[in-house]
Symmetry: C2
Subunit: 516 residues, 2 copies
Amino acid sequence: MTPRQRRAGGRAARQALRAAPLAEAVRPVRAGLQGGAYSPLAEAEVQRIHRAALEACATIGFADAPPSGVAALTGAGAILGDDGRIRIPAALIEDSLAMAARDVTLFGRDPRHDLHPGGTRVHFGTAGAAVHLVDVETREYRECTVQDLYDAARIVDVLDNVHFFQRPMVCRDIADNFEMDLNTIYACCAGTSKHVGTSFTEVAHMAGAFDLIHRIAGGEEAWRARPFISNSNCFVVPPMKFATESCLVMEACIRGGMPVLMLSAGQAGATAPAPIAGTVVQAVAECLAGVVYVNAIKPGHPAIFGTWPFVSDLRTGAMSGGSGEQALLTAACAQMHRFYGLPGGAAAGIADAKLPDMQAGWEQAVSNAMAGLSGLNMVYESVGMHASLLGFCLESLILGDDMLGQCLRCVRGIEVTDETLSLETMRAVCLGGPGHYLGSPQTLALMQTEYVYPRLGDRTSPKEWAEIGKPDLIARAKKDKERILSNHFPRYIDVTTDREIRAAHRIHLPVAAVRI
Amino acid sequence: MTPRQRRAGGRAARQALRAAPLAEAVRPVRAGLQGGAYSPLAEAEVQRIHRAALEACATIGFADAPPSGVAALTGAGAILGDDGRIRIPAALIEDSLAMAARDVTLFGRDPRHDLHPGGTRVHFGTAGAAVHLVDVETREYRECTVQDLYDAARIVDVLDNVHFFQRPMVCRDIADNFEMDLNTIYACCAGTSKHVGTSFTEVAHMAGAFDLIHRIAGGEEAWRARPFISNSNCFVVPPMKFATESCLVMEACIRGGMPVLMLSAGQAGATAPAPIAGTVVQAVAECLAGVVYVNAIKPGHPAIFGTWPFVSDLRTGAMSGGSGEQALLTAACAQMHRFYGLPGGAAAGIADAKLPDMQAGWEQAVSNAMAGLSGLNMVYESVGMHASLLGFCLESLILGDDMLGQCLRCVRGIEVTDETLSLETMRAVCLGGPGHYLGSPQTLALMQTEYVYPRLGDRTSPKEWAEIGKPDLIARAKKDKERILSNHFPRYIDVTTDREIRAAHRIHLPVAAVRI
């Protein structure tokens, strides 16, 4: 309603200030900001969901545990029924919750990227298993490759608001699953020093995978001191069945010192109940079983409570990640994580849209904002994801960094102090002062620490926008992508190590591609 | 992470169900859903803001009240200082709050569009004073016309999730301000039977405006029984000055029985303090002065507490509506409205983006979602607004209806009952059942009442999307716009009345344009 304000006062000073780089501590947003101002559930509702989940664990139980899991779970006190289902008494769940790791660090290769999920601290990152790369120019969904994965890692490496890199795409150009698992690790670790998440197809791959990981870390001891990779593990196949092979992988990861993301990825209306509350109950029950499982193998092993329920479009049964229902599911899960006091993660930021268009913007933003405000520790799939997780888009990833900056600003919230209440400044401005705040010392002081500026998002006036040729958002992102990919070769694996790795394993990315 | 689910089971039944129209009461989202699950401020912070606002009213006060306002305010107990500023003691504010209208209805011409702002009930609508219409095809910002306004009204008339129509554009093709004010009313009321909001340039226009309004209503008595237009009134020029002419308009509206939106539109860092808390303090102080003013003229007159603070990009001083800071400001204002128990409104959904692109999507979605979750009663400017309020876009308006559907779904929240907790359904599915929920009676029952489906938003798989020719979102919106505009001529003004109106006033829209 107000006319656009354009005042000269203080502009030069402000622009000069803005040009200086910001120290990490005074940046307006960063990893680990505390959310929690939004609670979709009343406290009594949280309790009801908890009790229903306990009852599901005790009375419905879980099918298909591998023999080693049966041994560990029944050894801890779970009951194997004649129907082959493992039922878990509430007391065992309470005991396991008591011994579960609460103070978890997800290490980066670079300590400045260490994450401390827990409380209501919020971290945004990628994840998923997209099989397509979205080409914004040709509007093609083509099979994605290990080069795409490496490129995505390099881009995430330079984006301020993407705090970890869980592999968002599978390498469709690598037919052998063992080679795919290892090359996924290589591509991720060559491209970024942020925390990496990945999956493994079979337990038989773990020895080779750990060999590669130890080499990258500089030895097993160094790895175990700062495990910089976590295992995204779909240990259950909802509803209420263990994923036999994934459980074996999980056990191997625990033995190998790798943090585990215990992932329950039901789909409301398909593999989980249609009501949002019921889907949360089932996801919580499945992850509680995970807590018992992990702590039966190794008490206190670092694990993320990974309730990742998705939504079905009930007209077709197809997955839909861009809905309000999805945002609610994720926020409710975050509230359950808070209730248990365990580090938790869930999915947000998924677009059903095929391209980074307006639909993608609103779909990704609603669920990310709500995930952040609910204090979700690990927001997976928060950026770059299209077609309900089937496509990953590098331009969208880059633009999404601006979106996440906005969400993080919202998570940071509002500081209320005598200074920010601003009565003295108001007095000075209104009573004999200039009648505006543009040049006030308070305004200049807060310009960089209170306000987030988009990097590619456009804030020009229509007139300025016309003068600079009406830049297209996607074209700008594409240009930025090309700039990053042609310049950022971070060499996180040194030459000698790389040579040794290539001697021991078949690495698909050529040396020339990674410029090591 | 889960593979896309495609099951045949129950699909025919689901699709048949889906084809039937939904009764209003079981539609998953509607006007007036209750928000409030999100609170950006702690209770003590709300109190501090309240106290700071009281102090600002009492010690800084307000310049530039018109003589009639000075008389009304000092008559009620405010103090006119030697510096010409009106200072308002806390006791007078408390008294005015006690007599202020809490049970306000904003009537539609059609009773089914009546709105009941208050509590945490959420309504989304348009607003603003854009001077450009955004042409998505030519990427032009052209001056907007009364025809554009009429078209926007007709589109809003058919969109489920846009609950009221405050004029979003000024008629730039009408040079005379009196004619513009009257033709704005005509274009809005000819195009929609939803509640209309508008502004008036000068108090001298009010007699003519009320003549037109009474004719549309079918007489003054009918108008006063169900006032279907409210006055969006910038009664203050922040910081802390009354807008002299607008105050006179406000007084005339109160006498004429028109609800008033008391609008304080400061801009953080320019016409309001740079800290978010300080901007809220000032906006609240200004609106508290409005409460005193309105109730001094007529106790209990229906008014909306219109704290509409905006944000400056502090690098340039230019307005920026698409930021996280904006979303926080708006949500904090909603919390203050709740504190006072008064019907309140603020701005959300503003894009800085020039076109309905991905940036527009995330900018509009974050603030709308947060406005809804915070329980903001009247979410103004929630849809169609670009270039930081300078441009209105009809295609964006249409797409925004889908976005608002998603936000409304989030506002509705999660129902937790024995039935939704779903233990019995889980048991039936897992223990000897089909192992999935696709065909379960619960899923079929909730398909339409729990889930919101986008109208234009795309949820096809990449394969289906390619098969249907990779539809472009904007092109689809444009086609939908053309369909609506070539078919929807609602004739909310009958032929006889229209003839009388045209005899009494210069109506710019030709009879042929409105097909009356």
